[in-house]
């Protein structure tokens, strides 16, 4: 384990904080206090570890991908297989922890926002497992491009509410979930899906996701005898990236790379490259980088990947970017889709489009770092949910099948 403890929040340098209506402060204080107590509680730690072992399927394995790595300058590429978790992504790590927290504070209803639907599915799953009422807010645009996940959530017993305000994507789903929370805060806990939002969410979600990097650090050491040259992850809100970065932040020799969605290109108007192209401001309760116009109105983001299609980013990433500890690079839709196909064809692993952004980044990174380097990549999710998008993108659907 690296020595330095991660920052507890609310601030990460000049970022983070709580820019929320006063009505939410008591609930955020309650969550902060409960989480501070729970995270050092041995019973909770055992309970969460057991859930992860017998339900999530942790520890997730490390897979070395040699045929893929031939396209990455011959670097050794190791995938941390969060795609193999129950429900298909890293999101479950966070949700099970917050479900236990919900039980601890005695609330019976959980709500969540979702973009790709993975966090919504994970939350609906935990609600089923813990016997909680569950409402998921999802932008109408996303309910269309991730229709399968909508069906999964409903099958699990959750109510899915398509959000029709604003740009009808993840940012508006968060607004709507916040409105629900302000109104029903006495009975309801908001299970936030990423390392953004007001304190304590950035620190708490990171604490729950850091299991990814903690496991991977041991696994890489056991496999190669040393720490990796670089660690890579895609960045939407930033939870899978903080999850794998945190164990390595205190290792100065390990380079950290986050890959943002550049949509049509970071220099076009259609992208979600928040750190590369945004500037500091306040959105969804925290100060961080965001995509905005000169008046501070949030600008709509664009990405083929619903999970990365977000104009904000977690405050700890803003801090890691400014301090130079981590580097953030843009990856276009086309680069991500090419990497998705390459991993599928060379290794028989179909990644989520989100995770494919990290893979595309690694193809460049491997060439820069050379054949002696070892690159650890967070494969944050699997591609099942993306087959409609990929089918259209690669034009590999049968016309008859499409008409069904």
């Amino acid at each position: 384990m690296s020595e330095s403890a991660p920052l507890p929040g609310p601030y990460f340098g000049e970022y983070g904080g709580r820019y929320v209506p006063e009505s939410l402060v008591a609930a955020l204080d309650e969550l902060t206090e409960a989480w501070e107590a729970l995270k050092v509680d041995p019973t909770f730690k055992l309970e969460l570890a057991e859930l992860h072992r017998s339900y999530t399927g942790r520890p997730s394995i490390l897979t070395e991908v040699q045929r893929f790595a031939e396209h990455a300058g011959g670097a050794r590429v190791l995938l941390k297989r969060e795609d193999l978790n129950h429900t298909g992504s890293h999101k479950i790590n966070n949700v099970l922890g917050q479900a236990l927290l919900t039980r601890r504070i005695g609330k019976k209803r959980i709500i969540a926002e979702t973009g790709a639907g993975q966090h919504g599915v994970a939350t609906a799953t935990a609600a089923a497992l813990f016997g909680l009422d569950c409402t998921i807010y999802m932008g109408e645009v996303d309910t269309e491009r991730q229709a399968l996940n909508v069906a999964r959530m409903r099958l699990l017993g959750a109510e899915v509410i398509p959000v029709t305000s604003g740009s009808r994507t993840l940012k508006d789903a968060i607004n709507e979930a916040m409105r629900d929370w302000v109104t029903n805060v006495e009975t309801t806990n908001y299970v936030f899906g990423t390392v953004a939002g007001p304190h304590p969410f950035p620190a708490m979600v990171r604490d729950l996701q850091r299991v990814i990097g903690d496991e991977a650090r041991e696994q890489v050491l056991a496999l190669t005898g040393s720490l990796p040259t670089a660690v890579a992850a895609c960045v939407g809100g930033g939870s899978n990236a903080m999850g794998i970065f945190t164990a390595f932040v205190g290792d100065p020799g390990v380079k950290l790379f986050g890959f943002e969605a550049a949509g049509d290109g970071a220099d076009t108007p259609r992208h979600a490259a928040t750190i590369n192209k945004g500037r500091p401001g306040v959105l969804h309760g925290a100060r961080s980088y965001l995509l905005q116009d000169e008046d501070g109105q949030t600008v709509e983001s664009h990405s083929i990947s619903a999970g990365l299609d977000y104009p904000g980013v977690g405050p700890e990433h803003a801090w890691l970017a400014d301090s130079g500890r981590a580097e953030y690079r843009p990856i276009t839709d086309d680069q991500a889709m090419a990497a998705l196909r390459l991993l599928s064809r060379t290794e028989g692993i179909i990644p989520a489009i989100e995770s494919a952004h990290a893979l595309a980044g690694v193809l460049e990174l491997g060439r820069e770092l050379g054949p002696d380097s070892v690159i650890l990549v967070n494969l944050s999710g699997r591609g099942d949910k993306d087959m409609t998008t990929a089918g259209h993108y690669f034009d590999i659907l049968d016309r008859d099948a499409e008409q069904m």
Partner: protein, 265 residues
């Protein structure tokens, strides 16, 4: 008539209280349905009994707002609302009527404009100050300094769930009045304004509040009358926005006049 007298909101409310009643505070968004009409509508509110104006600054992510205000501000943005229109609106209203004008704004637009510059430009336009629904005292250091420097009033929100310590801080830092959130929730008309409002106002008095005004959910003259029975002001938003959307300036003038019948002592 356009320069704001420092403390104009506080003194207007105090005058109403001394007259044995309280203040009617009316909200409308700038730029809805368009900039000139929004100015006319604000003027009409004052001409029909509204004592203090609260002009809302349209914002892309209004987490405190219900469907009526969301729809109006979204339309204002679609019509090309820019921040400078807010100052133009304040100036335009102040040139025609003497009621104090507060801007109600989410924080990021102020931050991007520059907090000090925003305060100076608001003062120069004749504005009285800001209501900041997503800026809590904990994050308000630069705003406290800028509002002091520009002699602007600053209204923080108090909620039924706020701790006694937080209410105390809110009262200490607010200038003009404290905005007592009547109920846990977002803007929008409600049949019953929560009993929680009365309890909150009592707690604010205990914390030393001189002016405590109640907002969220108020839509009728009866509710205004009931609230002014214990609070110093009643804040009406969605009901006015709906009246403007459905009946234009004449419609909103009518609604304001009807609400003002609740103010009579």
């Amino acid at each position: 008539m356009s320069a704001a007298v420092p403390g104009a909101v506080a003194s207007t409310i105090a005058a109403r209280r001394q007259a044995g009643s309280g203040a009617l505070i009316g909200y409308l968004p700038v730029g809805f349905p368009d900039l000139p009409t929004s100015i006319d509508a604000a003027v009409a509110l004052v001409e029909n009994g509204v004592d203090v104006l609260e002009l809302g600054l349209p914002y892309s992510d209004p987490v405190m707002d219900g469907p009526v205000i969301q729809a109006a501000t979204q339309q204002a943005l679609a019509n090309g609302f820019k921040l400078r229109h807010a100052f133009e609106a304040v100036e335009g209203v102040r040139a025609r009527v003497d009621a104090p004008v507060l801007l109600m704004t989410y924080w990021n637009p102020v931050l991007q404009y520059g907090v000090e510059r925003f305060a100076a430009d608001l003062r120069d336009a004749g504005g009285a100050g800001l209501i900041t629904p997503d800026l809590i005292p904990d994050e308000a250091e630069t705003w406290l300094a800028a509002s002091d420097a520009a002699s602007l009033e600053r209204v923080f929100l108090a909620a039924p769930t706020s701790s006694p310590e937080r209410l105390k801080r809110c009262v200490e830092l607010s200038r003009g009045f404290v905005y007592a959130v009547s109920t846990m929730g977002i803007t929008g008309a409600r049949a019953d304004v929560d009993r929680a409002a009365r309890t909150l106002v009592d707690r604010l008095r205990d914390a030393g509040a001189e002016n405590a005004c109640v907002g969220i959910g108020i839509s009728t003259a009866d509710q205004v009358r009931e609230i002014l029975g214990y609070a110093d002001g009643a804040i009406v938003g969605s009901a006015l926005v709906r009246a403007l959307a459905e009946g234009g300036v004449a419609g909103v003038a009518d609604t304001a006049a009807r609400l003002a019948t609740g103010v009579v002592a």
